[in-house]
């Protein structure tokens, strides 16, 4: 087994806000005493941008604009070169999450074309004979609560054949009348998206009604940009031919890591939308789109 490195972050959920102190312990376990050239701990935060395959050719000119952006980076030497005793050694550490100037830490976000990630890396350098040991561990940054009161912005909607766009043969559509509302499109990220939907009538049987959460990621800058919308998750709220005129709850929890407060910077943007997708039995697919604004309070 030899020597093992482990990083234990103090908070069980590993969530820290900008300005707080990230603390924890590095645990080194070994049966024998360990000779080493020093143990260091690095905290790193970066935004990785990627272009989708379809836009690579078009945006090669702006290739530079998509290189990783370093948000935070600092290293501390935890143990000077020497020898660690056998058994379990715990070395506590603390990192203040401070930004220079009035810059802020972006919230952790795992997306497709945009990734904002924070890691702690512990390195133990060793002599030529033994391999260096490394252990990385992700921690999560939440942006500080936004000031000011969030105004709820309820939306009512009705979906009928007449309200649809992109329809080839409107005449062949079965008749339906679906109405509902979202309690707010300004959403608090820790609270679910809620609302109601009523199938007042539908000629064709309903097969399924789904909520599709979509991320819209934009990379680039003023000269040119790539904007891609991809699905984060799809939550079915109705299965089968639901009872008419009976309200069905719209309810979706925003997944952690895959969502963050709506973000707009000079180099990239992360936005979210929700689609209400109604599938009818004759394979008609009806979608209604709602842009969302996520925030943390």
């Amino acid at each position: 087994m030899g020597t093992a490195l482990d990083i234990k972050i103090k908070r069980a959920n590993k969530v820290y806000l900008c300005g707080e102190v990230l603390s924890g312990v590095v645990v080194i376990t070994s049966k024998d005493a360990v000779q080493h050239q020093g143990v260091s701990l690095t905290m790193e935060g970066s935004v990785n941008l990627q272009l989708s395959a379809k836009s690579v050719g078009v945006f090669e000119a702006f290739y530079n604009s998509v290189k990783p952006i370093q948000v935070i980076n600092s290293t501390i030497e935890m143990v000077k070169p020497g020898k660690l005793p056998s058994g379990k050694t715990e070395i506590p550490f603390e990192f203040p999450l401070h930004m220079k100037g009035n810059k802020v830490l972006y919230e952790t976000y795992h997306g497709v074309f945009v990734n904002i990630q924070y890691t702690l890396r512990c390195d133990m350098r060793r002599s030529l004979l033994a391999k260096d040991l490394t252990k990385t561990c992700e921690f999560i940054v939440h942006s500080p609560p936004q000031k000011g009161k969030l105004m709820p912005s309820p939306v009512d909607f009705t979906i009928t054949p007449e309200t649809l766009q992109n329809v080839k043969e409107r005449a062949s559509l079965p008749k339906f009348f679906i109405k509902g509302h979202l309690n707010s499109t300004n959403c608090i990220i820790t609270q679910p998206l809620t609302g109601e939907l009523v199938v007042e009538n539908a000629e064709a049987a309903v097969k399924s009604i789904e909520l599709q959460l979509v991320r819209v990621e934009t990379c680039g800058c003023a000269e040119g940009y790539a904007r891609d919308a991809t699905e984060i998750q799809n939550i079915q709220i109705a299965d089968g031919d639901v009872c008419r005129s009976l309200s069905i709850p719209i309810y979706m929890i925003f997944p952690r890591l895959f969502t963050c407060p709506t973000l707009e910077t000079t180099n990239f943007k992360v936005e979210f939308e929700v689609n209400i997708v109604v599938l009818l039995h004759d394979d008609h697919l009806i979608t209604e789109n709602f842009p969302l604004k996520l925030c943390r309070v």
Binding site: R11, A12, I209, D239, G240, V242, L246
Partner: protein, 801 residues
Amino acid sequence: MIYFPKYCLVYKHVCTYTSVTDAPIKLFLYSCFLRHPRSRNYTSEFDSCRLEAVPVEFGDYHPLKPITVTESKTKKMGRKGSTSSTSSSSSSSMIDPLSSVLDGTDPLSLFAATADPVTTAANTDTTRKKRDKDDSLVVGSDFEPWSSKRGEILARYTTTEKLSIVSALLNDFGSQKELLNLTQQDYMNRIEDLNQSLKDAWASDQKVKALKIVIQCSKLLSDTTVIQFYPSKFVLITDILDTFGKLVYERILSMCLDNRGSLPDNFTPESVNDTAKETCLNWFFKIASIRELIPRFYVEAAILKCNKFLSKTGISECLPRLTAMIRGIGDPLVAVYARAYLCRVGMEVAPHLKESLNKNFFDFLLTFKQMHGDTVQNQLVVQCVEIPSYLTLYSPAIDWILQCIAYRAPEVLLTEMMERCKKLGNNALLLNSVMSAFRAEFIAARSMDFIGMIKECDESGFPKHLLFRSLGLNLAMADPPECDRLQILNEAWKVITKLKNPQDYINCAEVWVEYTCRHFTKREVNTVLADVIKHMTPDRAFEDAYPQLHSIIQKIITYFHDFSVLFSAEKFLPFLDMFQKESVRVEVCKCIMEAFIKHQQDATKDPVILNALLHVCKTMHDSVNALTLEDEKRMLASLINGFIKMVSFGRDFEQQLSFYVEARSMFCNLEPVLVQLVHSVNQLAMETRKVMKGNHSRKTAAFVRACVAFCFITIPSLTSIFARLNLYLNSGQVALANQCLSQGKIGVCFNCIIILSCQKTEYYYESHKLHYYENILWWLFSDFSFVYVYRRINEAHVVTF
């Protein structure tokens, strides 16, 4: 060889008895035959011997506090044929490890629960009072648990259609595979496999795989392709969900362990550490992202209890949300079972949250019309399922929901529920569930209303015979108003008698017989029996209905203890004739005989009873063959003996003897019966002697000789040598006492004893019965026939002095 000192002792002892008069013999015989047990009231005796009881308050700890065994929902016992009981310790600090392992089906508590209904009822009363003081956070044992329902559902909803299962787990994740053409048994095995692999995955720390299995399983619940099997499928799959819920809960609970030990049962979220909370939260996030509605609903419901780790109000917020979520389930059958599941976990976790239960039912009523909608109808046409049988698939779920609602609910609520059901058209299904779930007293008080409603129901909908059956079950347990009783019976039977299908008919009739027996006389019961015979005889329909017919007999003999009344009902014996399969017939006869022995107070000579019971006993006796087990024989013989003992013609001794003669010829295959007969005849002889005060007239002497002759003819046919010896001795003594010296039979008798003894001498020496036979011999030696005996012994060259 012979142990003399003991002989001497015995000798002295015996001499004192025999040398003076024959009085001691008489005494001995009387004490043998005329012994009747003193009637005793064990309960009061026990109470009087016991220390005075000091009541222990509910919360108090006492190490010896009794485990209260309460019958769970007594009213259901008769109805479902399945008894269930839960034993719960009222002392909160003591958990009975045995009963907790057995999960409420402890067979011993079951006995205890059924054995003494009086004390049980008393127990339930006192515990209920105590419980009411306590907050209603736990479901009491008077709530019929799900476990008692599941078996019944599995047995009732079966299919011969082929089933299919879609599983992504059979090979590696990702690739789906559909297994087609599974029989019901295969399907059940598959699900059991999944259950096992869930446990394995969990044990090997593959939590994600475990979750995937559970999702796969709950996905099966959205499939209604073999709709008749759906209720059973629900039972099987919710078992897996329960396992999962328990695993997750216990895992998180174990994370809460710290140096103070485990959390108490009523912990608060504040005492849960962050790691446990985070793990719990992760589960909820993971489940919230399940794509499909039905698995998301079921898995979240399965771990509902885990909300306790996160917040105090978690469950009370979750339940209404999950209730609303079910509205998204389009198929009404799938939806109603989802509601039943939610009510079930809701009752387990937070029985005080009644609103969600009610909301579930009201939501169900809102979607009630869907059952008759096109989507459902088309599906039924495809699967060739009739509407009545489709509607019965709903019953277990609705019954369960209503049972949860009705549990300790105020009368007002029940009335409101009933009114709501009334308002809906075509509500037979609801009516039926109301009758199975609500308190019997509630239903019984409104019997006439119900009959009216049942009559109004649509013929093509829910089967009417089931409605009448449900009503009958309630009436068997609670009494309707006095004035309505006859009318109820007439109204109900008018419908029942018109049922065409014998199975439907008998299921209904079986239930209503109890009501009839409870409130009416022989005349009405006789009419009912006649009607049953009329319906069940054509095409030998009774052959498929033995259990129901048997149960009818049982109900009748529970209510009619006077056998002269019972047998004078002219249809009773013809009814018995319907039991043509021998094994069933014997069972029924046994029941009747047990009831007779239990309830008949005085000896009887009623020719009606004698005739009928001789017939019954003969049936039992004739069932004995070479393959009959010893135990069975013993059982039958003791029943017949019980009957023989209850027959008395008073001073008409000759009649009595001729009865014994007849009995001997009838029951010659059962030795214990022959033994009993010999004893009875000996007793009869001694009785005669008593009447004549020891001086026989010519006539009585002849009679006594006849008795003795009876014995001497009967005894040799016994195979057991001990029985023979014993009876020879007894009969010999009786003969002596009655001065039947001339007969020479005494000689024969003692001769036989000696020969028997000599043949078996070696054996006797080895046996523990040695002393007993020494007694016999010494009694003989001391007798006046000593010389004779002595000579015989010498001839036998066995014992020399």
